[in-house]
Subunit: 465 residues, 2 copies
């Protein structure tokens, strides 16, 4: 589209000088994804400050048949937020926390509010917003809703879907879906908000959401365990859950990942000396002052039962941070090692060990000598399974076999009734594969829904469907 | 439709003699609702035993443009399950629990499986299915999904929507939606199962579901509290939640309800002598052996803070049952008292006291001297607000003003951004009001979705939309 298209001129008039830019330098950071996997183009970036402005943008674009791409904190991992010639709508000026009510356990935040700010606001009100993930310092509420974000507390508190009480969204034609309810129960008709959650911006522009808060846990404890096998992890998860009722997170990391963190990440520490094949990070939360004792006791029992080589309960805040730091650097630690084939798969929890075994074999068949970093949310069967180029292979040579690697790993996940995208979404990067693997009957229902809600197909085209 | 319609003959051929009946005596119990509010008619009741039979039924009916009504345990409270001339599809022969996996924390049950059977199967596997409601001995999984059932454990464990990992449903054209996943995380496209949940059978016939299990709580405690005001209930809820982290249910009952139970229900007991205006029933669950002590301590603190007149922790199984019995009879105890205007409203939790105050005033304006039984799920802002005919008024006279009473109570709920159906659904009984009150934009999206999924409009017509 021409940068002087009459619709763009009208957009500028509506938004005023603070609401748009065509300055390449200002736009640039919004056109690249943080892992440098996608870069895009746009004739204009618009940043509505009010819902009415967002409505006006959509109405104008819809009338003119001009496509848009929506962007929150630009932390998405599947390219859905990067425009390829579409008008780029950024929510960065819609950041208000409109209300917070500790008695209703609800908080209404605008789409551009960053997750840590929402967490902080909840904490200041004596409550907690339990969603937590690595990009929480940049990720925004609108993006987290549009991807149905997961993170480390899903088993206990659910994904974003479970934490949205209501939402407000601009429909493709500029009309407003007004559903900012703070009700915990409402069975009046189809639950339309469910459509927007996880739709990757293809059905409307989320402008605000009513979020569910929970009571703050009075006590927390974090432990690291040294394990022999993933089978132990699965058994431990259930044992500790039953014995303590207090599991908030149960994450795993394989040896290769830990070793790369020790090599590439300053201050990363393996708390154990004997290089265990797997580490598990377990977070407990409870209102009970006895939590630390309960956790210690449960861990001692697990050691005695032969379910772990060793276990350490963090003795202070700094040790807690050190345990989490190791886990959180599992992605960054791969960067200096070259090209990685990254996968965000899930399988039923019981199938995690079998998936890992088969995926290791499949990966080594495609690229003998590859280095596998497997880590993530064992408690949800969600493994981030990253396959790094063999040391003896060039990056370019490995890049050429990435499609075969993705196919192989996803085949293994599907063989266990798994998913090729547990929490990151489909976006651009998994679109072709999604369309190939998804049952045609499901796709046609999705397309029919997209068709009636966005008949001109202007919302995040190229994404998902 | 003629009872000898050629499509019916083909249905009989497909299903065989066990799969259908036109015997009025056998059909009769399926045509009346347990509160005798609706009665219906049908040319035939079909009971598929297999998914393929259910598909054949739908394909035949869709081809011939014959409408169907689906029925599970016939415990619905809004008339959605009662046919008015449609073919009646009962799920009573599809009752298998297909699989149960305690490591995945999942269980696959067919639509006709009764809730208590699912609860029992989970328990036998060392797990728990936490949905619990008064009709659990009859209500079926398919019906519970189609109404997005709630009950007493919603605050801790969520409504049915939060407990469905995946589902299988026959689409209106007889094709099968195959989504029986046991994954806890799957972000591949729109989450289509959300559409069927709470759709009251208008989008498809749910035939089976993969349900989420949780760890069994090792310890439980139940307390009854005598309260002065609903404000105390709301404050208590938050205080106990924060102090114990163990609240599983927090239910309230007003004095009129308790008195009617004492009058009309054999063996109902108020554990307190001094006729408190409100009772609260609190259930705690925890893995901690100290639960009873923690609950006692938290309750003692609440008494000291003036948040309750009195509190009793059940000392044994029989006392626990007696506390719950009183709560569960809050609906039945009204029956001998004549005509009742029943409401299943929700408001934000903080607004429960204001709703009760305003609703009492509104009800007394419509029918001076009416008797109000208010009870239910205070922890979700979901109050069952039932207004009984004044003792001095005839049932017929009261019946004539029921519409005005419903309108008045629902107006109050809406004035607090509430819902006219928190957990029972819309069905037939709330349809006109729903369509009048729901924003037209929401209705048109719902109708568009209905239109693309059920273009001939044969699934539960007359219901919801």
């Amino acid at each position: 589209m021409n940068a002087h298209h009459p619709t763009l001129t009208r957009l500028k008039d509506i938004l005023g000088p603070k609401g748009w830019t065509q300055d390449p330098e200002l736009i640039a950071p919004h056109l690249i994804e943080w892992r440098d996997r996608w870069s895009g183009t746009t004739p204009i970036m618009v940043s509505p400050a009010k819902v009415a402005e967002a409505q006006a943008i959509m109405a104008l674009c819809n009338d003119a048949g001009i496509a848009v791409t929506t962007q929150g904190g630009n932390t998405g991992l599947v390219g859905a937020q990067i425009p390829k010639g579409e008008v780029l709508i950024s929510t960065k000026r819609m950041t208000a926390i409109r209300t917070i009510d500790p008695v209703d356990d609800s908080l209404i935040a605008e789409a551009g509010a960053v997750l840590t700010r929402v967490q902080d606001a909840a904490r200041e009100a004596g409550k907690r917003f339990p969603l937590s993930l690595a990009s929480e310092g940049s990720a925004t509420i609108g993006g987290l809703i549009s991807t149905n974000a997961g993170g480390v507390h899903v088993r206990r508190h659910g994904m974003m879907r479970a934490l949205v009480l209501g939402l407000e969204a601009v429909m493709p034609d500029g009309s407003l879906y007004e559903g900012l309810s703070s009700l915990r129960k409402d069975n009046t008709g189809y639950d339309l908000k469910q459509l927007f959650i996880g739709a990757e911006g293809t059905l409307g522009l989320v402008t605000a959401a009513s979020l569910k808060l929970v009571a703050r846990p009075r006590h927390m404890a974090v432990a690291m365990l040294a394990l022999e096998t993933p089978e132990q992890a699965v058994e431990l998860l259930h044992r500790l859950e039953e014995e303590t009722g207090a599991i908030a997170a149960f994450e795993v990391m394989n040896r290769t990942g830990v070793d790369l963190a020790l090599k590439n990440i300053p201050n990363a520490r393996d708390p154990f000396a004997d290089k265990a094949p797997w580490l598990a990070l377990v977070e407990f939360e409870s209102a009970s002052a006895d939590l630390a004792d309960q956790a210690e006791e449960a861990l001692a029992g697990a050691l005695e039962a032969g379910l772990a080589r060793d276990a350490l309960v963090a003795q202070n805040e700094s040790q807690t941070k050190s345990f989490w730091y190791l886990r959180e650097e599992m992605s960054a630690c791969q960067k200096p090692e070259g090209v990685a084939a990254k996968h965000d798969v899930s399988v039923p929890v019981s199938k995690v060990p079998a998936f890992l075994r088969d995926a290791d074999a499949a990966a080594n068949k495609v690229a003998p000598g590859c280095r596998i970093v497997a880590f993530g949310h064992c408690s949800d069967g969600n493994i981030h399974y990253d396959v790094l180029q063999p040391s003896a292979m060039s990056g370019d040579a490995y890049r050429a076999i990435l499609p075969a690697m993705n196919e192989a790993i996803h085949d293994v996940a599907m063989s266990y009734d798994g998913s090729i995208s547990a929490e990151h979404g489909i976006g651009i990067s998994r679109r072709d594969e999604f369309i190939r693997r998804e049952p045609p009957a499901h796709l046609s229902v999705m397309r029919a829904i997209k068709g009636v809600i966005d008949p001109k197909g202007i919302m995040n085209p190229r994404v998902l469907l």
